[in-house]
Each structure stands twice: as C-alpha cells, then as structure tokens.
C-alpha cells in the first residue's frame, strides 16, 4: 500500500513555485532519501506531505487521506522534524516533552513510559532534562527535538536534515532509530545532503531539482 502518492503536485511559497510538479509514490515500510541542491524544494516537499501546505495543482494522498481536503487527519499521523527545534526556549527539556506528549493526546497511563523511553533513547540524562532549551548546545537541542519527534510515534516520518549538528554517535543513533521505526511499521522520508548515509540506509534515493523529481535510484538497503 502506498503511504505517499503525489501526482503532478505544484506548491507555492509566497508566490514562488517551490514545487513545480512532483510525482512520487512511497510504499509502506520504505526509507526514501530526498537529495538535491539548496532551494530544490526538499523542505517544501516535507511540509506538503505533513499537510501544512495547500497544493496549488495536482493530486495527492498521504496515509490514505486526500491532500487538498483532508489535511487535518494527515497532520495528526505524521511527524515532522524540521530545521527549527519546535521547542519552547524558556521551558526545560522535560517540560517541553511532557507538554508535547500531552497535547498530542497520548493515553494518560502511557505518557510517563513513553517520555522516559524517548529521553533514554536520545540519551538525555537527568541533568539535561532539567535544563532550559535556551541553554542547550546545538547537538543537545537536536536530540531534544528528536525525543519530542519520536514520543508521538508517527506513522509517517518526515525528517529534514536529521543528522545536522549531531556528532558521529548521534548520527548513528538517528540511523538506528530510523531502521527501528520501519521495523515497527512506519514509513520514513528523509531530506539530506549526507550521501554516505543515504546509500547505506535508503531503499530509494529521489533527486529533486527545480521543484521536481529528476531522478530515482535504488539505495543500498534492499
């Protein structure tokens, strides 16, 4: 079953055609890497898949919901890791993750388990948990964002440069997370420059240029 199905999608950003006609199908359980130069439309593509942008032209379905008319159910089921942290600067890591878990409507009985799992998974120890996000380093902030990202357990993972700002260990942790999530039934789309990782992990590599898909290669993960 295809999780993402886009046909001739055109999307505007303040009048600029960021996507000029994207055709893309992603099946359940795939790990698709999207590569391309800066301004190729990678971020817009992820935002579109998250149901944040109304497409200008074309048809699209995400997780079985129509992209033009049913964006609310799409939003609930996708996770988006973007360039910005998505965290509140003046709250601690623990307060942030607690807020985002509660607001996502996670069952009360499950909240504590999930939070401690996510924090542990991203190696955020007690000391870091009680620090304000404002005072974290770039890498630590990234890990906190990732913890908030995984705690919601989205069905479709949309990750914009997930390795940025992380050290070697952190990068490996992200790769492990991705593989694990796919085993658990999720589908992953990653926008990245990091070609080495792309080849090892991806089931497919999609090249984006000028707002359209210009090439599809098979990745190393078959």
């Amino acid at each position: 079953m295809s999780v993402v199905k886009l046909e001739g999608l055109v999307a505007l950003l303040e009048g600029f055609p960021a996507l000029t006609g994207v055709d893309l199908t992603v099946n359940a359980g795939e790990i698709v890497f999207v590569k391309g130069p800066n301004g190729a439309g990678k971020t817009t593509l992820l935002h579109l898949c998250a149901g944040l942008i109304q497409p200008k032209e074309g048809k699209g379905q995400i997780l079985g919901h129509d992209l033009s008319s049913e964006r609310t159910p799409i939003r609930k089921r996708v996770g988006l890791l973007s360039h910005s942290s998505g965290l509140y600067r003046d709250l601690t890591v623990l307060e942030n993750i607690t807020f985002w878990t509660q607001i996502a409507g996670v069952e009360k009985s499950e909240i504590d388990n999930r939070i401690s799992w996510a924090l542990e998974r991203m190696e955020l120890d007690n000391k870091l948990q009680n620090q304000k996000v404002r005072s974290l380093s770039v890498g630590q902030k990234r890990r906190a964002s990732l913890a908030v990202f995984i705690v919601r357990r989205p069905d479709l993972w949309l990750m914009d440069e997930p390795h940025a700002g992380l050290d070697q260990e952190g990068r490996q942790a992200v790769d492990d997370l991705i593989e694990e999530s796919v085993k658990a039934g999720a589908t992953v789309i990653v926008a990245s420059h990091d070609l080495e990782r792309v080849l090892n992990l991806a089931t497919r590599v999609v090249t984006l240029s000028g707002g359209a898909v210009v090439g599809v290669d098979h990745g190393g993960n078959k």
Binding site: V10, L12, E14, G15, F16, P17, T20, G21, K56, S209, G210, G211, A212, V214
Partner: protein
C-alpha cells in the same frame, strides 16, 4: 482588429459619461437653483440659518450614504468570498473597501468644512456620527494596510475578508457606545430636521445621492477590474515561473 488596452467597457463608459453629466447638473442645482438656508426668528425677525453653507450638504450627505453602501458591499463580498472562495468576491471586497475608504475620508473632510461655519467648530467630539465615521475610517485603513502587507494577493484574501466582516459588525457597537458615551448629538436635531426641506432641496439631495452612487459604481467597477487583472497577472507570473523552473530542470538533465 485591435483591442483597446483599457479596463473600460461599453457599459462603464456610459456609466462614466452619465456620472459626469449628472455631476454638472448637480453643481448647477446645488449652487445656482436652490436657495440658501435663511430663516427668520419669529419674534425678533433676525436672520439665521446655514446660509450658503447648506450647499455643502448636497455633496456631504450623499457621499456619507455612498460610503456606508460601499462598506456594506465590502462586507457582503467578504462573506461571499468566505463561502465561494473565488477571485471575483475577493476583488469585489477589495474594490469596495478601497473606494469606501476614499469616500469616507472625503465625508470627514467635507463634514469638517461644513461644521466650521455652521457649528463653529472643525471637530465636535460629542457627535455620534462624526466619531463613528472616524473610527470606521481608521478600521478600513487597517483593512487596506493588512491587504498591502501580503506578498501574494491570494494569501491576503481570507484574513482580509475576516477583518472586513468583523469591522462592519463592529460598526453598530461603536455607534451605540459613542452615543451612550456623551448622549448628545448635534447632527439631526440642530440641522437636518429643522432645515426647510422643500421640493427642490429634496430633489437636489436625491440627485446628489444618485450621482454619488453612479460615481461610486464607476470607481468600484474599475477598481474591481484592476484587482482582477492583478490576480490574473499574479497567476500568470506563477505559471511562467513554474515553466521557467521546469525548463532549467530539463537543461540540467
């Protein structure tokens, strides 16, 4: 066959010419045919009244009516946009809003010019209609500023429609609150109701309203067409930008 490059159409030309002729007749009536407002005190026999200043009302009152009309059109078109989501309604709301703001400014200015000789003041704080009209003017300045702040006219449409609707719904509230605020009004009591409304005066006033409606229609029509063309130009720009980007792709391949 050459197509003339203009937003005018046969209908709008007729409308325009009728407006100009109507305006000329209005000036003739307002300045030379109607009498000045001169009344005599029943006991002392002293002269009083608005004298020739009353001639300003043949312009001021119709423009005020037209201003409210334009804002009502703007509100209806905004509601229409929120229901139908088409360019047409958005352009109409934009056109009516802008023309209404312009005439609203003129209403305030002519009112002030008339108030100076008649009420002996440029501005009267205690007058409800004066205050409400000023607030209305400020509201729609904000409305136009909001529209101007968006890069793409399409993104402006929904917020602008919401603001216009709230603004127009707020008018009665503003009116009420200002009225209770001072509980006095100079307008109707001291002036219009005491004015000797003769047949000719009434006719001139009616003609003034008719001419103002015609002028407003002409302005809104042309402003609408400009807004419509702007939408079209924007769409065209987007289309060619898409083509251009696709073209570059193909070259890179």
């Amino acid at each position: 066959m050459t197509v003339p490059i203009t937003t005018a159409s046969k209908g709008s030309k007729i409308l325009g010419i009728t407006s100009i002729i109507g305006f000329a007749v209005l000036i003739l009536l307002a300045f030379f045919v109607t009498d000045p407002d001169i009344r005599f005190h029943p006991e002392t026999g002293e002269e009083f009244g608005q004298f020739d200043a009353v001639r300003l009302l043949y312009l001021h009152v119709p423009m005020a009516i037209v201003t409210y009309l334009a804002f009502v059109i703007c509100a209806i078109a905004s509601a229409g946009y929120l229901i139908k989501r088409t360019f047409w309604w958005d352009s109409m709301a934009h056109a009516a809003g802008e023309v209404g703001t312009l005439t609203c400014a003129l209403v305030l200015i002519t009112g002030s010019i008339w108030g100076r000789p008649v009420w002996n003041t440029w501005w009267e704080w205690g007058d409800v209609r004066l205050m409400s009209t000023l607030i209305l003017f400020l509201l729609f300045l904000g409305y136009l500023a909001l529209r101007g702040a968006f890069v793409s006219p399409q993104r402006a449409a929904r917020p602008a429609a919401i603001v216009a609707l709230i603004a127009v719904l707020d008018i009665p509230l503003i009116n009420r609150s200002v009225e209770w605020w001072e509980n006095r009004t100079l307008h109707q009591k001291s002036t219009l109701s005491e004015l000797k409304i003769e047949d000719l005066t009434l006719f001139t006033l009616m003609l003034g309203i008719l001419v103002s409606v015609l002028v407003m229609s002409w302005l809104i029509l042309h402003r609408f067409r400009v807004a419509w063309l702007e939408h079209m130009e924007f769409e065209q720009g987007v289309k060619s930008a898409i083509e251009e980007r696709r073209h570059i792709d193909n070259k890179e391949q």
